[in-house]
């Protein structure tokens, strides 16, 4: 899975990842962000790049299997 979790110790609830994710991977309850659709993570790394406190580390493994050409 491309995104597995958010580092809760580091996360400062800024909501940037929720705001920017192109795939709507994050949900929000109050100020707290959670992973609502992690299987849709591309991954594109934008949340990891934009996170101000390095609370997100993305794995390059594709969130969903994609057939290969050969």
């Amino acid at each position: 899975m491309a995104i597995r979790d958010i580092d809760r110790v580091k996360c400062n609830d800024c909501g940037r990842c929720y705001l920017i994710c192109p795939m709507d991977v994050f949900g929000k309850v109050g100020r707290r962000v959670y992973l609502s659709n992690p299987e849709d993570c591309m991954p594109c790394y934008l949340c990891e790049i934009d996170c101000p406190v390095d609370a997100i580390t993305i794995d390059a493994e594709r969130g969903r299997p994609i057939p290969l050409p050969y």
Partner: protein, 563 residues
């Protein structure tokens, strides 16, 4: 059923580089402008992942030489008027963007120590050169400029349909990604700049580009063009990656299993810096000939270039790091990455004002047929085209809106359409969008459909696509608005898939990305034509070939192996 109606003069759908440019320029002409995006403008679409290459013809460059190179290497199916426009308008618009960046504290163009624009020979370039652009700062700038210009923003809303009134486009229907709200967006003109359809396949950051813009234009009666040039990039086999133009410019090499730099056999003049169209077909042919796997080798690149690559495409290096691969120390297994109509590969047919054949409907960027490119000419044309076509289409749509009457379209006029879009929410049982998407991907990604084609393989694919269209797509269910967006994405994707396969079946020659074992030659005598697609009055997909003008460079004749 409609939660909110919004009125605007100009509606822009898709907020990447082209859409932002169009919105800003339409707003400059004293219109109200609404910019809608499925995601968050500046972090949505292909633009934040533009990977560094933008083609800018500087005032001191010889425009005739550049035009010749772009048209020759686009295998002559470019719209030469657009090539000329791009060469004239690209530089001032790029410098305007650079200026906006400075005003907002962003560095957009890379420069050398003397302050000159950094220029490289990247993919496809022989006499032309490519500037290096920082994509994320460029998109941060665009967002800031859109807001400063007082363009209204509506984000996390997927536009599903255009609304027509007596043959004229008068707005669109939108669906809230997170809250499921339905919007009627009434406009005097619409610019579609929502990119193409990448089928949620490979390529970094492209998986929310599923062809709504092109599909809704088709439904509204617009002609689409050059879909037979559905494109591929290349990527690491183990994970999505990008930045290949920079990698090739830095001396990256493509090797087969025998250690040969095979690209010199396919594009003798520039080898590893070959055009994408040649590279993807060549990798597929090397694999078919038993000389796979194929590798990308960056081990001989300079430290300076390595630093530049890390800076310009940070996502790519995060992917390598996650795989525990140091691409500067070891070669990486590489493969073609089918991208459909994202970043090129055909789209909405436009004239030199950005207008489609449907009154009130304009298109910019990769959503259009990217008329400057031809097959796939040289690197970086798409980004320049985004700002040039955005500028032109935005101003054209604004001027159309000034003359157009307000439409009297009412909520009740669109209720039937809205009900059918919301239907997957009511389905008690049904297929998941993901299952249908996977089936579609399997058909399109196959080597004999995406790369080494024949009449038989394309007919098989068409049968499979038709069956998915008839049986699977209407049976998709959605549990919430997030899934409803995906369900509706399958509708757009299957439409574009059918266009691709039908267009490829129609073109009985090999040119650009289109390689057919049953017609292996480029045939200028019969096929120096644009392949067009349009919905006919019965609702079927009509495909035909159309002659086009070549005002500056005469068309070649004869048949020869693709070059």
């Amino acid at each position: 059923m409609i939660n909110k109606t919004i009125d605007t003069d100009v509606l822009v759908v898709g907020g990447g580089l082209a859409g932002c440019e169009a919105a800003i320029k339409a707003k400059n002409e004293h219109n109200s402008v609404l910019l809608v995006d499925k995601g968050y403008v500046s972090r949505s679409g292909a633009s934040p992942f533009a990977a560094g290459a933008i083609n800018v013809c500087l005032p001191e460059d010889d425009k005739d030489v550049w035009l010749r190179e772009i048209v020759e290497r686009g295998e002559y199916i470019n719209d030469q008027e657009w090539v000329k426009l791009q060469l004239e308008r690209g530089y001032p618009l790029a410098m305007e963007l650079d200026e906006w960046g400075r005003a907002f504290g962003h560095t957009i163009f890379e420069r050398d120590e003397q302050g000159n624009l950094l220029r490289k020979k990247a993919r496809g370039n022989i006499n032309t050169r490519t500037c290096v652009i920082n994509a994320i700062p460029a998109m941060d700038t665009m967002r800031a400029k859109v807001i400063e210009s007082k363009v209204s923003l509506l984000e996390r809303v997927m536009v599903t349909d255009l609304v027509l009134d007596q043959g004229r486009v008068v707005g669109a229907i939108g669906l809230g990604y997170r809250d499921g709200k339905v919007y009627l967006l009434r406009a005097k003109s619409v610019v579609l700049s929502a990119s193409g359809c990448g089928f949620k396949l490979f390529g970094m950051g492209h998986r929310n580009l599923t062809g709504e813009g092109q599909a809704m234009a088709y439904e509204a009666g617009a002609m689409l063009r050059n879909i037979d040039q559905a494109m591929s990039n290349t990527t690491a086999r183990a994970a999505d990656n990008h930045g290949m133009s920079l990698m090739a410019a830095a001396g990256g090499r493509f090797l087969n299993s025998l250690g040969e730099e095979f690209m010199w056999n396919y594009e003798p003049e520039i080898g590893n810096r070959a055009r994408l169209s040649k590279l993807t077909v060549a990798i597929a042919r090397e694999i078919a000939a038993g000389r796979g796997p194929v590798y990308m080798d960056l081990t001989a690149t300079s430290e300076e270039d390595q630093k530049l690559m890390r800076k310009i495409v940070p996502e790519a290096f995060k992917a390598f790091a996650s795989l525990k691969i140091d691409p500067f120390k070891e070669k990486v297994e590489w493969m073609p990455a089918f991208k459909g109509t994202v970043m090129h590969g055909g789209g909405i047919h436009i004239d030199i004002t950005g207008a489609s054949n449907v009154p009130g409907l304009y298109s910019a960027g990769d959503c259009s047929c990217t008329p400057e490119h031809g097959t796939w000419s040289i690197t970086g044309l798409n980004l320049t085209f985004a700002i040039v076509s955005g500028d032109i289409a935005g101003r054209s749509a604004a001027s159309y809106a000034r003359e157009a009457a307000t439409s009297g379209v009412q909520k009740s006029d669109v209720e039937e359409t809205v009900a059918s879009r919301l239907a997957p929410l009511d389905a008690k049982v049904g297929l998941t969008p993901d299952e249908v998407i996977y089936r579609m991907q399997k058909v399109l990604i196959a080597n004999d459909v995406a790369y080494i084609r024949s009449d038989a393989s394309l007919r098989r694919a068409l049968g499979e696509i038709e069956s998915i269209r008839e049986e699977a797509v209407p049976s998709v269910k959605a549990r919430n608005s997030h899934e409803l967006v995906k369900a509706l994405e399958t509708r757009s994707m299957i439409r574009i898939a059918e266009m691709i396969v039908r267009s490829c079946l129609y073109r009985e020659e090999s040119r650009g990305f289109h390689y057919r074992t049953d017609y292996p030659l480029t045939d200028n005598d019969d096929w120096l034509k644009w392949i067009m697609v349009q919905r006919d009055e019965q609702g079927s997909m009509r495909v035909w070939a159309q002659n086009f003008p070549t005002p500056y460079l005469p068309a070649p004749s004869g048949k020869y192996p693709p070059k």
